[in-house]
Symmetry: C2
């Protein structure tokens, strides 16, 4: 009989090997969500109670972007209901996201597409992260709110029978009054991978990218495949590179509109690229030196900004060899 200490040393450390370091997911944008949801057990009464709570805070969206109020003390993106009394938002379609430090957080959409009255403005979510104008935990709950509001807006009808369906569970479900089918919020898992071959890594560019930007390959995971097989399939389809080992790095909730990015490293077993020209306009190997210059964004070529998990994957590869 071995001691509990020995037992723990022998297998618990093995199970959690590598996790003594801060988890990589925590370094990704939109990951700092502190809302306590309890969405399984929320109902219309909880939603109504949140709306009546004078301490409740609300995230608002206007033409697809978060609403900010900027004054001398900085930018704010979570408002009391009193502060937003003059804004015309659709409270009936609003969602109770959860609680932070006991304060209920709500999300709703401005009804009119007209400009907002001062001091209210909007800032797109990418810029919200890049400028750092709002705290990371607010950015995360804004992203959370937008993923759910987008899902409701794009799923007003029951995909099973075609009738109009209704928001239930404070915004965490929809249900069809005709066929009674319950619909869960959609979350699309996407694999995104940095392919590594010795000291080189593989990056591609899509025609829609900013000039000079190269990024990791990526694609939706499909039914009937593991994460690792999805990574291999995606790299084969886009670049015809064979992959052996795949290693999970981190995840990122990505609110465009409701994606779960799953970042991996993928070990190349071949180097000759056959690019999928329907997806990419270029795809090639980059040396560590090239990537180092691209991460700073100072040269002609660049990686995506730090808010993107692709940047974090490339940064981790670069730093590990520093």
């Amino acid at each position: 009989m071995i001691s509990d200490q020995d037992f723990e040393a022998r297998y618990v450390n093995a199970l959690f090997d590598g996790t003594a370091f801060p988890e990589a997911s925590a370094g990704n944008a939109f990951s700092a969500n502190r809302l306590v949801r309890n969405s399984e057990h929320l109902g219309a009464e909880d939603l109504a109670r949140a709306w009546r709570n004078p301490h409740a805070l609300i995230h608002l969206f206007h033409n697809g972007d978060p609403v900010l109020r900027t004054d001398a003390s900085g930018a704010v993106a979570a408002f009391t209901l009193q502060q937003t009394a003059k804004l015309n938002y659709d409270a009936a379609a609003g969602i109770y996201l959860g609680d932070r430090d006991g304060v209920p957080y709500l999300a709703a959409t401005i009804v009119s597409s007209d400009d907002l009255p001062a001091p209210y403005t909007t800032l797109d979510m990418r810029s919200l992260v890049i400028t750092g104008s709002v705290a990371a935990e607010d950015v995360a709950s804004i992203a959370h709110g937008w993923s759910l509001l987008s899902w409701h807006a794009n799923n007003r009808f029951c995909a099973h029978c075609g009738q109009a369906c209704e928001k239930t569970q404070a915004g965490y479900r929809r249900q069809c009054p005709a066929c009674e089918r319950e619909h869960f919020p959609r979350l699309d898992p996407v694999s995104i991978m940095l392919v590594v071959d010795g000291s080189n890594c593989l990056l591609g560019r899509q025609p829609r990218f900013q000039p000079g930007m190269y990024s990791c390959l990526a694609g939706f995971i499909e039914p009937g495949e593991t994460l690792e097989n999805a990574v291999r399939r995606e790299v084969m389809e886009e670049a015809a590179i064979e992959i052996s080992a795949v290693r999970y790095h981190s995840t990122q909730p990505w609110p465009f509109p409701h994606t779960l990015m799953i970042g991996c490293f993928a070990k190349a077993e071949s180097t000759a690229i056959t690019m999928d020209a329907a997806e990419l306009e270029d795809c090639r190997w980059f040396s560590r030196e090239e990537v180092g210059a691209m991460l700073t964004g100072s040269g002609e070529l660049k990686t995506p900004p730090p808010m993107a998990i692709a940047h974090q994957l490339i940064r981790a590869y670069y730093d590990l060899s520093g």
Copy 2:
């Protein structure tokens, strides 16, 4: 300037640390899918060509279960079109899944719910795995086919506008002729976790489980959270146990109907359980000895069978300390 060998030893090994072993996902049921999809670029012509190919093989489903043909040489679950000429299946709603060794694989549903003519029978997918009557790679492509067919059957209408929508891209998309919205197959990411505290692990049972069965906690990942935060939330909601480190173990495509199970180990930082009685009827700590007996299935208490990723997580925890 260090050599390429030194360079690789310094960082490539670090990136892929732990992946020198066979990846855990490959040990999960439904993971052995060898179909080459190329779904991005499939169209109606590819589907029609597959149906005309005399070598094409088809997976059929009857009342939700895969169709088998059993004769002296064993069970078969992929048929030539000639073999299935007398079966009344809905070819118009059929899907071109992809190719295996150059042979196109199709999937379709039997129209009538009446019994099938001999030698055709059905076997539910769980039993198909447990009995081992069909090769693992067939089981995986059957699961793949069922996830897509279920999605089509449950998404006949456009969730955006309520009109009937249509299968496109050989079955890998739907599109609405009214609003032109494109719909992608749904894949729901679920986190499933074995919570470990020293030499004990946490298992729960839902009322719907077989008598004596205990399993890992699990739940849908929601918009606005990382995998690791989803694991912490789920364990907090179901058992009120605090989690520190979370470590990715493996994924499993789960065809009931289209879920991506993401298995993790989660390190407990507290031990007092407050169970969510709406979800679970019991939840408690198990010693390694208890779990060892449960894995064999010989006693009163048991784990899920090896086809479930929960079993694989529990098995990995048990084996690591063996």
